[in-house]
Symmetry: C2
Subunit: 265 residues, 2 copies
Amino acid sequence: MTYRERLAAAVAARGNLCVGIDPMPSVLDAWGVAHDVRGLETVARGIVEELGEHAAAFKPQSAFFEPFGAAGIAVLERVLADIGQAGALSILDVKRGDIGSSMAGYAQAYLADDAPLASDAITVSPYLGVGSLLPAFELARATSRGIYVLARTSNPDGGHLQTATTPSGASVAQHVLDELTALNVEHDGLLGVVLGATHKDLGCDPSGFNGSILAPGVGAQGATIASLASVFQRALPLVLPTASRQIIGGGRQRLRARLQELLSG
Amino acid sequence: MTYRERLAAAVAARGNLCVGIDPMPSVLDAWGVAHDVRGLETVARGIVEELGEHAAAFKPQSAFFEPFGAAGIAVLERVLADIGQAGALSILDVKRGDIGSSMAGYAQAYLADDAPLASDAITVSPYLGVGSLLPAFELARATSRGIYVLARTSNPDGGHLQTATTPSGASVAQHVLDELTALNVEHDGLLGVVLGATHKDLGCDPSGFNGSILAPGVGAQGATIASLASVFQRALPLVLPTASRQIIGGGRQRLRARLQELLSG
């Protein structure tokens, strides 16, 4: 099964919310654990223990594992294994982007079948050009994995660059969308985009897009499940909204209640 | 001492070449080692053993360590320690870029004094906006470390995005340069840029820049030490050229000879 087919099956069974695994310092505090690698593991794996069979996908944020060096990455390996064992999809948020052999290295790290950090999908960053990401696209196609390319991110700081006008006349975000739309025809639709759910004006039009849309910003950043329809309009069926702090930020005991609250309101 | 002061001292003592530690599969082959974590360690640490006291700076590429998961990151920790013990500066090429607490996580991972992967400087990517990188700038200032922000990368694929016109009229690459020039006034000049040495036309003007310029592309990608003057002109004194495969791609026995060849021609 392709990534899109696996995602569709998971969403059909469990709904379309992606739970962000963001074990940041304030979340460790809320869970009553120390700011060390044991606290990191308690929170990150605890989220999957409680919610693993209640969400279609989980999005671990690599930035909260890397501060602990190799020990933190070992926890991330276990979290990814836990997600797979719970029957959910893992979307590892690493936002990698590089060129040539370096990009091929990142592809191997997260998209090869035998990689310790193999994930169902990863996020990547197109600052070095959409074409520079081809080694990841090719390996994802070969191993039936998925890719989410940053287009329009949820933060206001990103607008100046992402709405810049490329030589062909389109905005940077639109250019990314258009390139991926064309590439998806021969990539089984595995190429998705990241479009923040927080914008009144996305600065690009996803209505003709043909891949999955990962939409961060629900919850703590201000967007709601109900507000997605007005942001994404015709593309709403493609959207995989992701929320983190609003679900995980109240400690382990409140995880399931908070997930239900978010889904119902 | 600030990062700029430490860099200036190292360059005065050892010359201005930065050696890229890129243990990619073809380099492992040239060294006659297996494509496993032991082969990775043999090559990456062997480069520092041979050249550690002959270069001002080393630039390990994280993309070649991450495919081995936690075990690869443990090697990277040791390589960074080796570089420091050899009296050289470490510029870890990670090209991270994210927002808010996630960007703060990446800053902690590479710029905090007690981090297992603490480096003298790191590369970061501005797709989410120069402003999104502030947590890294702030921590680097507090710990006397350095940052290199991607502006114009060495690959042709990057041009379409990096030469796009921002709402203020400047190209994306020029906008990055201008933002950093302004921020450097209160950041001790710790903010550098990445400008590929491979371009006839950079698409931006670094002549007024006030930080270090990391210039990849020397050697295998086609630029030479002699060609730097015509690319960078007035900004040449700021340039830290970086080369990798041309130095490390012939096996351990040829490292010193290749370094000398590159510097002399």
